[in-house]
Each structure stands twice: as C-alpha cells, then as structure tokens.
Symmetry: none
Subunit: 216 residues, 4 copies
C-alpha cells in the first residue's frame, strides 16, 4: 500500500493548491483578465501542470463552483439543523443566502455566471455535471424545508416544493444581483437601501407562500 496512497494524496493536494491559486487570481481579476501564467505562479507550479489537472482556463474557473456550492450547502444545512419552525427556517435560509453573497461575493459571482452558454463548450462534462449535482443539493434543502412547512400547515399545499425552491432561488439571485451592482447608486442617488428592500421582498414572498390563516 503506502506508495499509491500517498501519490493519490499528493495529487489531491496539488489539485487543491491549483484551485486555491485560481480562486485568488480569478477573484482578483475576473475570468477574462486572469492569466494562467499568474495562476501557475501563485500555485508555485508550472503552467503545463495546470493543464494536467484542468482541461482549460474555463474548466478551472467552473471547478471553483464545487467549492462554493459545498460551502453554501453546509450553510443551508446548518440552518436546517437549528430545528426551527419551517417558516422561520426558510426565512433564515433566505438571509443565509444573502450572507453567503456577502462573505463569498466571488463564489456567488461564479454561481451566477458559470452557466453562461459561452463557457460550456470549454468545460469538461465531468465538471459541469458535478456542479449541477451540487447545485441541486442546495435546492433540495430548500425544497425539504418547504415540504416540512406544508406538513406543519404553515405553507400552502398547492405548490411543488422543488418549484418553490427554484422560485426563491431566482428571486434571490435577482435581488442580490441588483445589490451587487446598484446598491451604491440607489443609496446615493435615491436614498434607497437595497439591502433592506431585499429583506422586505423576501418577507413578501414568504408571506405569499403561507396558508391563509398563518399570514402575518
């Protein structure tokens, strides 16, 4: 044993080193401006080695998604584990998503843009599927919470949990996207706090999911 095992570990370590370096560079400069040379240097590896582990620059970029989605899922599951009423859990998941955006704005950005059609062609099928799976895992947490809420009688019965999850995801993305790009502008020119607005929007949406008697 021993040898093969260690080799496997080393390979995994190297992969991590590359991802770490890639994160740094991509997050600093964005996909187009980041150069493989820089990433190689940051990883203290040769450029060629990068291509041993990742098919292309884009492949490496999208591979970061896995990391981001793993974090997000963990954050969601942590909220779920608090064993609060379903509606409160869902509310907190919403804030957690925003929290994720604040803590890891760059992962969030990849999450939003990684699907852009243009990238797909340069990314290995494997990486693509991996990210889709993990993305689904996050959605499933949300769906699960909603389903629990339905069972508990706080959420409407007439909506499919997975559909609600997708809907909430879309809505949140939109609002956060606005915050990412426009927060300062709206605050400065119109004295509108997009962060507060997002909270309000989330409450409204949550409310529309509740059963009639439970509306707050």
């Amino acid at each position: 044993m021993g040898t093969a095992e260690r080799k496997g570990r080393e390979k995994e370590q190297r992969r991590r080193a590359i991802l770490k370096a890639a994160r740094k560079i991509f997050f600093e400069k964005g996909l187009p401006a980041a150069a493989m040379d820089e990433i190689a240097e940051a990883a203290e590896l040769s450029k060629g080695t990068l291509y041993l582990y990742f098919k292309s620059k884009e492949d490496l970029y999208v591979s970061l998604l896995e990391e981001g989605l793993a974090i997000l899922r963990r954050m969601f599951e942590e909220v779920e584990a608090r064993s609060l009423p379903a509606d409160e859990t869902l509310r907190q998941i919403g804030f957690t998503y925003y929290e994720f955006f604040k803590q890891y704005p760059d992962y969030f950005k990849i999450l939003m843009f990684a699907d852009a059609r243009e990238l797909h062609s340069q990314v290995s099928e494997e990486v693509l599927q991996g990210s889709e799976q993990r993305s689904l895992a996050c959605l499933e947490v949300v769906a699960r919470v909603f389903a629990r809420g339905v069972a508990e009688g706080v959420f409407r019965k007439d909506l499919l949990p997975i559909e609600v999850a997708i809907m909430l995801w879309g809505i949140s993305n939109g609002m956060i996207g606005l915050i990412a790009n426009k927060a300062e502008h709206f605050m400065h020119d119109h004295q509108i706090n997009l962060e507060a607005l997002m909270a309000k929007s989330w409450e409204l949406t949550m409310n529309s999911l509740r059963t009639a008697q439970k509306k707050k």
Copy 2:
C-alpha cells in the same frame, strides 16, 4: 448656419452607423469575441473613427444600452397607455418584460451585465449616466402604475412605489436569468417549466402587493 448643422447631422449619422454595426457584431459574438475591426468594417468606417466616437470597446458596448432601454421604455409605456386597471397593467408589464427578453435577448443581456464592475473603468462617465437615466425612466413607469394602483385601492399603501418597482425588477431579472441559463436543464432533467414557474412567481408577487380585500 448650414454647414455646421450638416456637420452635426453627419456626426450623428455616423454615430448611429457605428451603433448599428456594433449591435450586429456584439450580438452575434458577445463582448469578448467581437472585434473592433469587424465593427468598423460593418459600419463601413475605419477603425480609428470608432475611437473618435467611443472611448473604448466597452464604451461602445454599454452605449447600446441606451437603445435597449429606449425600446423597453416604449414597450412599458404602450402597456400603460392601454388604460387598464392598475393591477392588470402591472401584470402585463411583467409579461412585457419577459417579452422584451424573448424578443431582444441580447439587449437584455447587456442590461444584466453592463453594470458588472469590470466594465465601468473603461466606460465614459457620460455613457454611464445616460444609461442610468434611461433605466430609471423604465422604473418610473412601473412605479407610476403601482402608485395609481394604490390610489385605486388595489395595491397596499405601505410600500413606496419606487421601491416596489425596484423589487419587481430584481425579481424578474432573477427569474429570467434562470430561464436564460437553466430552462433546458430543468425541463429536461426535472420536467419543470421555468417559464410557467416565472408566471406563477409573478402572480404570487403581485398578489402580495394587493390590499387584503382584493386578493385573488
């Protein structure tokens, strides 16, 4: 007069020619892949001339926003002019936004991406402000409709019209972004129709804006 006037007209014409060519090329290839050479050729002007009218490639790209936003505004105002009840108007405006995305996916894309931080540095202040103004004009249509709804008693009084407009904008962007990137995937792998889901989401949101007695 005469001469100066004609010169002004010619200048404006040339500007339009460039924008027209840019639209064609950018929409065909996307910002990174589009080349100034191609745009110059399509505009039947020299490459140098492009830089007489636009500060940079990105500047030209973002300048297209004005066109897009003008179209969108016209579409919104058309709906407004139908003189329907405020809630119906707002509902139709929502669908119109989606319609805009379907008809002009490329303008929509610029709308979504043009704010990305990375571009800003390369874009002239002037262009940036122009687009912000026109963007606001669109929001104002929505805000106006909502305000009318409040006056008519169909919409809640406790929400600021402009904030509602922003909120609806964010939500719509998020859902449409999902459709743009994930529609096929969700339909294929999960038999979920994102388009229908978007409609449902819009209805839910609309509902949460209504006064209690008017809920449908």
Copy 3:
C-alpha cells in the same frame, strides 16, 4: 540462462510494440503533428519508456526506415527471384518501386525525407547507420541485376553497376515525388497523366542503358 534470455526477448518485443505504435501515429499525422503521448498510449507503455528505447522522437521516426527498407528489399528480391532476363528484371524492379510507393506511401515518405539534414542531429548514430546499410542492400539488388545484364550482353559495359543503381534510384524518386505532389494538378489542369509519364520515362532510361544492338 533462462532469465536473461527472456529479458532480452521482452525487450525486443517492447521495441516492436513501440515501432508499431509509432508507425500508426506517424503515418496518420506526420512527424510534426504526431505526439509522443499518443505513441506511448498506442503502445500501451509509458512515455518515459519510449525514451528508454529511442533517443528522441526523430530517432523513433527514422527507425521506421528499417522496416520500410526491409519490405522494399524483400520486394526487390522477389522480382530478382523470378529469373527473368536482366533487362526485364530491371524493368520490373522499376515498377516495383512505384508499387512500393503506392502500397506504403508513408514508408516512402520517410525514405525520401529521413535524410533531411535537420533530423540527423537528433538521431542516434546507430539508427542512422542501420538505415544506410539497409538502403545499400536495396541498391545492391539493382546493381546486381544490372551487372547480370552486362554479363548477358543486354546492358552497356561502360557503366558501373552501383552507379547505375544510384542513378535509377534518383530518377525514380524524382518522378515519384512529382506524382506524390503534383499528379492531380497536372491531370486536372493539363490532362497529363504523370503515372504514364513515369512509365515512359523509365522506358527511356532503360533504353539508354542497353547495348546498341539491343535497343527496342
């Protein structure tokens, strides 16, 4: 004994495996486009192992010559074994060379290009000498046939057999080179069949080697 012997056999087998794989890849893609990775994979050996058996990519390439020349020699000797009159044998050897080109165009190509100065520096002395020896062996068949023809009185006495062999080789290479590159062009643009022309040229040359009274 046993072990050492088996090792020797294994080594030879591996060498053959590499040559076989190299043939496939080089013939498919040509020297510049062929990659050592591919050859290694085709040989089901590691890339490093290739360098245990061959000094360089070029060395491996030129090593294929041996195979080609072995085939050519066999083809020549087969003609020789038919025990025809010397002039008929020579004539058939000429056509056989062309046949070799048609059947093994890739070996022929190596034959023609392997001597290019540029390769020499990267090829081991050993391989180089091996190919020269085998090349000479082919020439010797031709020389032998010509010598027999002199003895039989059909060929001129005033020419050195080995020189004639070289001459015929050069002439054939030239004509075949033309066919390889230009056949289609001449056929298409000028209705000239280079293949037929080559046959005619060969007859003319043969004729000029005959004794006066034997001219056809």
Copy 4:
C-alpha cells in the same frame, strides 16, 4: 497624386523587407524551427505587421517560392537567349538547374517541399496559384527548347514537349535530392561522386531524347 503612390511603394517595400527577413530565418532554421518573432525582429517590424502582409507563417514561407521561381526562370531564359542549338541549350538548362540548386539551395528546398499537402491548408489561394503559374513558366521554357529541337531535327518527334519538360524536371529533382542528402555519404563510403553521376545521368537522358541519327 503622389501620396497614394508613395504609400503603395512603401507597402511594397515593407513586403520585400519581410520576405528578405523571412528568407534569412527560414533558410537558417527551416520552416518548423523558424519563429515569427525572429523574422519580425530581422525585418525590424512588429510581429503583428507580418500578419498584415501574410496570412500565416506557412503563407510567408510559400511566398518565397515566387522569388525563387522568378530567379530560376530568369536563369533559364538567359540560357535560351544564347541561341545555341536546341540540344546544347537543353543540356545547359540541365546544368543551370543544378547551378540554381548550388547557388540557392534554400530556394530549391522550398521548391521541392512547398507542395507538401500539409502546407496547403494554411496558405492563401492567391499565393498558391501564383507559385503554380510561375512554376509552369519555367517548365514552358524547357518545353519550348525541346520543341525547337524537334523542329531542328535533333529531338524525337514522338514526345510531347511539355511532357518531356516535366520528365526532365522530375529526373533532375530526384538526382539533386540525392546529392543534397547523400553526396557526402557516397563520396566518403563508396568513392562515388554524385555530381558527376548526375551529369552522366543527364547525358544519358538527353541522348534518349535525340533522333536516332543524332545520338552521340
């Protein structure tokens, strides 16, 4: 006028500067080893400029053919202009071809290799046709001389001049190819002078073209 004219001249000059630099580098290193960087530097121009004038590295390489063929044609026509008997003219043209090889070995090499299938795809149609035309022009000189010989009664009537020209071309290429690659080897190992052999071969071939009564 003036300006446009001068620009045209400058452009032509620049083209020549590139070709001159390319000749130097390609001839020193061969097509694969030559780098566009080097050529640009030698031409005292930027790399980008090279691509303004030539589509690709290969295009530039093949463009040198025109120069080579122009020289060759001039050399042939000079011989023709000496107004010697047709057979003597043809004999001298043969030696002139060899002379061309000795004086411009690198042009000769391009002549031999430029048709290789592999290049074609990267070379502009224009350049390709240009070289074919000039190549034909050289052949036509030879054909013309042969035709004159037929008229003068020194050459056989039963051969088509253009076919003879092609044949002689092929034969010469083959012999010269041998000289280029093997001269030293044959001289050193077998005391055979390929140059002398080529001359002998040419005489033999010439002889076989003569009418019976004129054989020497």
